[in-house]
Every structure is written in C-alpha cells, then in structure tokens.
C-alpha cells in the first residue's frame, strides 16, 4: 500500500511538473519558506451536506499532494475549510471572515449555487478570486447582477450539462413525452427545471406535465403517482439532496419503467447509494467520471481511495482540480506574500491564463466569462452507489 502511494506521488509530481510547463510559461520565482493561504467554504451540514464533504476531502487531499511534492515553487499551501451549514447568510459571512480575518488570497466554494449568489459578491467586492467547484446554477459567472471580475468556476453549469444529457438520450432512444419534477422553493432546482423546459422540446420531447413540490415534503408519492399516471417516457428530476433518490424509489415501486434524466444533483455517490437499485440507469451529464484517462485522474482516484476508503465523485474531482488550478495560478502569479491585495489581483490575472493539459477533469481552460468549457461525460447510476459512462460529449 505504502509503495503504491509513494509511487503514485512520484507520478503526480511528474504530472504537475508537466502541466506547469504547459501553462503560459512565466518562469516562476521561488516562494521558498512562504505559505500560500487558501480558503474553502463548503456545505458540510444542511441540504448541501450531501455534496460538501466530498469537496472538502478532495480539496484537503490536493493540498497534501501538492505540499508533499514540494508545494508551489517551494511555498506550502495552507487550505482552511469552513462549513456554511447550507445557509446563504452564513456562506457570505464565512467568505468575508476567511478573506478579512485569515487573509486568504483565493477561495473555493461555496457548495450550493443558492449560497454562491450571496458569497461571491462579497469576494468580488473584496477583490479576492473565488472559484465555485460545484456551482452549476444560473447567474454564477458571466451574466451576474454585479461585476464578478474575480469569480470563476470549474464546475459544469446546468445549462451545459442538462442539454447534453437530454441530447444524448434523445438521439439514442427518441423519447416522445416527459414529466418534470422539481421543488419550487429551491432556486437551484427551479433554474434546472427552466433549462429542461427550454431544452426538451428541441429534441422532440413533449413536456406533458410539470410537477412542482417543496423541499420539505415528507412523502413524495402523490407527486410521483401523478407523474407515473401521465405515463411519460422520461421523468426529469432537477433537485438536490435526498429528493432524487426518494422519487426514483417511489416511481419504481409504482412499477414505472421509464428513464430518469437529471442534472448535477445526481452526480454524487451519496445520491446513487441512497437510490440503490431504483436508481439503476438514471442518467445525468457529468463533468467527471472515474474512467477519464489522465495521469492526474488516476492518481487522484488512487489517493482518494487510499486516504478515505471510498470512491471519489464528481464533486471531489472538481474540488481537487480547483486546488490544482489555484496552485498553478499561484505558481505563475509572482506573489509578494506582503501585499495581500496585490497578490489577490495577480492570482486572478494568473487564473485567467490557466491552461492545464492534465487535471482529473481532463485538459482545463477558462472561457472568457470565467466559466468551464470541457468534455461532458453522460453517466448513469450503477445501482450500487457508483456511476457508469454512457457516452462523452466533446467540447
């Protein structure tokens, strides 16, 4: 075991050395003896508690891996992870505290898009780069109600993931009818539903029913019964936490045999695990899947399993990549370690120029709107808490 680890460590070293090369090659000054302070705001409890923990684990893993092979130009990364309890206000406050108190030069998070819309403006107004690693909702980057010059994300937006998923399935199975199920008191879910309603018709899927409910319903069967009664080819579920699994279980119990399609809400082990057999085949567009054949992905998976005894998922991969991106930017940003404000701006400029050939997500570049443009992996739940690849939609 130990040997595997060190072996993998060595490989990772090569890998990041390589990508360091491919990034817009400013000869990096030495940071010896310094500490690069990074922060992360994740939802470890509350509704987002389904997603946050994996992000946290992976981010800390990345920190260790990078430090293990000598850090960034000799500087060690110090990542502070805090919990926002899936609460908007807390996310914003935590972000501010990390920036103002702990003096971080860049942040990851927050986990939920609903919290991001509150936290990101804070980072932006304090001129500190903040990168969402799981924010897939609308108005996160690009078209935001505030400048958002300092806001990035390496997570695949629903407006890309959902259409890709629908297209893939439509091309293969030509479904005719669909029903949309979503909690209407949740912004993220409502956004997703809107995307489905806009996209499905394009691929000849008629939305025969849109069923709204609320996050905190004890029992969703009445809705599912309504959905099943319409006997659609597809049931779209755009929502968070335990809801998708609950819907799948009930729908299968009611004997419905059709196809579940969804968004990023599906893409975590916890959901697949909770859905169990009922989830088998439930399909979603993902930014990641274990089979991505890059060196850093293989290492990432190996390390993650070794450290946490569980398979990583998309959120883990995105968080891990997030730290890699920040580290890479730091290595090119000529940090002063004295003038924090200046360092934050240089971090941002360096991030704009990010060009990594080898990350767990594959080659990585930001679009002009600080968004991610990457291959989409359409995956299906394997009924055992994991996912299998259905097809890939290249950029």
């Amino acid at each position: 075991m130990k040997r595997v680890l060190t072996g993998a460590g060595a490989l990772l070293l090569l890998a990041t050395a390589a990508c360091g090369g491919t990034s817009s090659g400013t000869t990096s000054t030495s940071y010896k003896g310094n500490t690069i302070k990074l922060g992360a705001v994740f939802s470890l409890t509350g509704l987002g508690g389904v997603y946050g923990p994996q992000s946290k684990n992976a981010a800390l893993l990345a920190q260790d891996d990078i430090n293990a092979k000598g850090g960034v130009n000799g500087a060690t990364i110090q990542l502070t992870v805090v919990d926002d309890g899936s609460d908007k206000t807390q996310a914003a406050q935590q972000t501010q505290t990390l920036i103002q108190e702990d003096g971080v030069i860049a942040l990851l998070g927050p986990t939920l898009s609903n919290s991001a819309v509150a936290a990101h403006p804070v980072a932006d107004s304090l001129k500190t780069p903040m990168m969402g690693t799981s924010n897939t909702g609308l108005n996160i980057v690009g078209t935001c109600p505030y400048p958002c010059d300092y806001i990035f994300r390496d997570s695949l937006g629903e407006q890309d993931a959902i259409p890709a998923n629908i297209k893939t399935y439509a091309d293969a199975k030509h479904p005719k009818t669909g029903v949309v199920l979503y909690p209407n008191d949740d912004k993220f879910s409502s956004d997703g539903a809107q995307i489905v309603n806009d996209t499905a018709p394009k691929y000849g899927i008629k939305i025969v029913k849109t069923i709204q409910f609320t996050k905190n319903e004890a029992d969703l069967s009445p809705y599912v019964t309504e959905a099943v009664a319409a006997n659609p080819d597809v049931i779209f579920i755009t929502s968070l936490g335990g809801i998708p699994a609950k819907i799948m279980t009930t729908a299968r119990a009611d004997g419905w045999q059709g196809q579940f399609l969804g968004g990023n809400g599906f893409n975590t082990a916890a959901v697949s695990k909770q859905a169990g057999q009922a989830g088998l085949g439930a399909q979603s567009g993902s930014a990641w899947y274990p089979g991505i054949n890059t060196q850093s992905n293989r290492d990432f998976i190996a390390h993650y399993k070794a450290k946490y005894g569980a398979d990583p998922d998309q959120l883990a991969a995105q968080a891990y990549t997030g730290v890699m991106i920040l580290a890479d930017a730091a290595s090119r940003a000529n940090l002063t370690f004295k003038d924090v404000a200046k360092d934050r701006t240089s971090m941002r400029d360096a991030m704009l120029a990010t060009n990594l050939s080898d990350t767990p997500l594959g080659p990585f570049k930001f679009t002009s709107s600080h968004d991610v443009k990457q291959t989409i992996y359409v995956v299906a739940m394997d009924g055992k808490g994991g996912f299998t690849l259905v097809s890939t939609v290249p950029l």
Binding site: G46, N216, A218, D219, P222, G241, A245, K246, A253
Partner: protein, 304 residues
Amino acid sequence: MGQQLLNAIFLGSIYALFAVGYTLVFGVLDVLNLAHSAVFMLGAVVAYSIVGLHGGPFWLGMLAALTVSAGMGLVIEFVALRPLRRRGAPPLSALIATIGLALIIVALIEQSHAGGWLGWLWQDGANPVRFPPGSVPNPILHVAGLIIPGDDIAIGIVTVALMLILGWIVRATSVGRALRAVAENQRASRLMGIDVDRLFALTLVGSSALAGLAGVLFGLALSDIDPYIGRDQVELRGLAIIVLGGMGSVTGAVVGGYLLAIIEVAVIVAGYTNLRAGVAFAALFLMLVLRPQGLFGSRVQERL
C-alpha cells in the same frame, strides 16, 4: 385515483404517528415540545445504526430505537421542562428550552462521521441513508390495478394498531385515567392521589417512544434517514395536524393526520401540486381562526 387514495392513507399514517406523541405532551403538560422532531429523527438514526452499521436484525433496531427515544423523553423532562416548571417560568420558555435541546441533538448527529466519537451511532453526517434492502421483507402487492408496497401496508396496520392500543390505554387503564384527569384538572388530580410530576415524566417517555417508533417507520417506508427528517419534513405539518385535530386530543391528532393528508393529496390530484403546502398551512390558519379548539379539542373559558 385509487392509488392516490392509498397514498393519502399512507401519508396520513405517517402524519398521525408523529402527531400523536406531539399532542399528548401538549394535552397533559400544556407545553409544545419542539424536541419531539429531534427524538423522531434520533429513533430512525438509532435503528439504522443497529441494522445498517452493525448488521443487527430489524426488530433489535426497533427495540433500541424505542429504548433510546424513551430515554430522551426523560432527558427532555428533567433537563428542559422540570427546572423551568419549578421556577414557575412561562410555557414559552419551556418551548424555547426544547428548541435548544433539539438544536443540540440535530447538531451532534449531523457532525458525526466514521471515526468520530459518535461514529458507532452515525457515520453519514448530513447524508440521507436507507435501511439495507431486505432488512425487512417488502413484497409489492398488485391489487385491482393498484400497487401496494408491503411496508405501506405495514405502516397502515401499525398505525391503526398503535392508535387502538393508545386509545385503550388512555380510556381503560388507570394510567390513562390519570392522564386525562391531569390534563383536565391538576388540582383535583392531586386530591385523588395522582403523583402529577411522575405522570409528566411518564407522558414524555411515552410520547418520545412514539416519536422514535414513528421515525423508524418513516425511515423504512420513505427510505430516507438523515439528521433533518424530523425538523424539516414532519415538525411543521405535525403542528398543523394537532391544531386541526384540537391541541391535546389524541383522537384529534389521528383524524387530523389523515384529514390533512387527504386535503393535500386532493390538492395534488386537482392539479395544483404547487399549492399543496400553501393549502396545508391555510387550513391550519383557518381552523385556528374559525374554531380554535380544533375538531376534537374543548374550549377553555376564562372567568373573572
């Protein structure tokens, strides 16, 4: 349609199970015990830890859940309620004390991970989990074109059985008589030799055990166990139910549970799925405005 009726009955059973213990405490102690939902959750968690984490049989999990939640009842009485009663503090403070207790319970569970000091009890933090498939046989019956999962039937039966038993206890046993006596007139009860404090403790034990049981069945039937099932999914509805039924009335809680479930499902069937929750709370509001004593409650008269 028939399917939806089944759904309503099933949902109603879940509601009733939760609400009965809730209303019992209010009826006897005149305090709204907002830690009830936390105990409900804890029951499910304990059963899961026996069955899911330690591979024990389901009946054992159920037993453990009952024991632990009953114990929580004592904790609520002795930590939160009795000290305030002794101080003659207003019921409002008692209510908030129970909120504090609930916060603690939920926080401890949601922060518990493998290897943590509570790891033996719960390892999934905020993640929802389910009982391992097959931990209870769950045949799916097909009757006259209706699909009826076995556990739904089980829940229905258990609920009805429990309600009958509880009804029998309250009506026929001496404890039950004492309960109703205290609920109606503490002074007179004392004069008849009833140890009121002991009865309060007993009430909390009973109602909490019910909460725990409800939690287990909830987790089983909805394959959803997480730190928030009590707080987020049943607490508010439970409040609506005991108001509909008449605060303090056990019968009321049962009828209210099924009534609310039927109303909600009716709204869904009518196609206004987006209004379900709104209607539920509007019903609560209207009931209080039009008939504060609820369906089965009795009005209290203030005299000069």
